[in-house]
Amino acid sequence: MFALLAGALLAGCSKPPSTSTASVTGSHKPPLAKSDSDEFHYNDPCSLLQSAQVAAALGVPLGTPPYRASNGNPVADGTDCIYQTATFQTVTLSVTYEGGQAEYHVGDFVSGIMKRAGAGVLSDKARQALVSEDGSQISGEWDEAKLTPLNCCHFEALRADQLISIDFTGSTLALKAAAALVDAAFKRIDKPLSLDGAANVAAATTFLKGRPRPMEPCSVLSAAEIAVILGTLASAPQAQGDGSCSYELPRQPGYPPRIYELQFSWHDGNYAFRQDLQAAKMGGAAVGGMQMQVTTQQQVPNLPSSHTEGAGSSTAATGAGGTHTVTTTRTLSVDEMAQQVAGQTFTQGTHLTGAENAADAGPWERSARVGLQFEAVRKDVLVKASSFAGDADKAKRLVSAAMAKF
């Protein structure tokens, strides 16, 4: 009977109401509550951690109070809570209060495939990189926990039927610190804070308007700025889609074309940056961990009395008082071999360690060389520069000049 009071009035409608307050048509003044109430505050993912707790883990204050979100957007009924620094580094805590078991085990199929594939494709070193940063044991108030396969920074923990996951890809947060936050969240889940993530949505919406606005990729740097860094171009800069611009220098006979490319990710730059590092690390670990047998032969003087070589060696005598050949077979990884030959591992030499380069100072918050690219993040905008047959330092200067524009 009483469902009529709500349902009958709205019967036949198909769209949600507009949220534009400017076009409100109600003819009566709404009867607004005079005091705050926690009557409707429950299952709020933002009520499990103190803001200061997350700020301490990130090492910097938050730029806006934690807010409820869905798919990265501020939404009052979102199941995620987003913590963001002033430079838009982002940590997302997601809470499933019921039905966590099913959600947690959805990934098992993918995980199983990865494990099976890993036996043939990934080295132990690469697999280890998915699990832990410093090898220390991570424990907490959960029954099970895991990192999402092939992702450095999406940690999930299950306790009974409650699932808490934290995605810290868009930040500098380490796994150990992220897991500690999940542990703290579980400890508070039965007695949450009054912190209301839905109430912070409006502030977050305003805060996010402060993000750098996307620009046409070839309009970021002026012709004069390009000329100072690269010299005269062979042709006008060429935009590729919305996100990149390439600059070609005049060709020199007998040499390949020299092309510089700037790529922009205007949103989620921290996220993309860390994913790049993770991909590089996995690739580097897979190649650098590859093992091969190396056989060396050495002529050594004969000793007065006979002796036995160690395992893996064999001796062929060439005559008394002369020399003989010692053949040694050893198993070396690509990284070990490169270390012996070039003084640094293969992954170091090719910038596939997954490490950020703290010493590479510039107008950015984070930077790294990843393979042949230099990339940096500022205000969550990722700028990458690659140079085909060009100068790596000039590529870096292009990034620096671009960063100064936002």
Binding site: M1, F2, A3, L4, L5, A6, A8, L9, L10, A11, G12, C13, S14, K15, P16, P17, S18, T19, S20, T21, S23, V24, T25, G26, S27, H28, P30, P31, L32, A33, K34, S35, D36, S37, E39, F40, Y42, N43, V75, A76, D77, Y97, E98, D196, A198, A199, V201
Partner: protein
Amino acid sequence: MRRQGMVLILAGATAVAQGGTVVHMNRTDFEGKSRPEAVIYAQDGQFRMDTLDADGHVRDFVLVRDGSVWQVDVPKRTFFEIDQAALAGQQSQMQQQMQAMLQRLPPDQRAAMEERMKGLMAGRAQSSLTMTDTGKTDHVGSWACEVWQVQRDGAVSSDACIASRGSLTGGDELVDAVHKAAATTRDVVSALPGARATAQQMAVYGKVDGFPVRTRELGRDGSVESAETVASIERQSLPADRFAIPKGFTQTTLGKGHE
């Protein structure tokens, strides 16, 4: 000073004595599974009905007070007023959308669809609803009640077991608030073409001098498809804010429809 204190005590005593009524309702589906479905609050002629989700949390609520109806979406923290202007605007917009859709159809399909819509609208305008006392009595929990049948266009669509106001805890408060809410709702929909049946329904419910402790939706063969039953009724002094829009909620408009 002493007199002021006396006045305050009397005022407080009056508030407690008047109090409010809280009704908890469960829904039982055709498989016999029951779960909390709604909570009704009534006090001083003000009416609020919460709809609960599967976890027992308030999904939304309807607030009827001071001659207006408000719909509040709790998870989204939004609310809007359901008034004649908004409903008429919404209906007009829906008609425009329908017309636009019809224009995109091939002529023969458009003609068929227009004919079908005419029939539908005529049916709505002539739709009749009656509620009759069957003379039968029943018991729901500890309440004795009279079984009424709701007939839509001559066919029984549901029944309600009405307990008299005197037999219910806080019955006067509850029934008076329901009457007011029904009258307000009837007024809101009365101007709408095609909402005749709803207006009739509200008018009927407004006249029943009791409260339905059980409402059952019936199939064409008379089988019970679902039932809404009162689980408990209690007297409580309710804070004024219980009949208000919570702080921090944003006003929206019904103009573009509702899901």
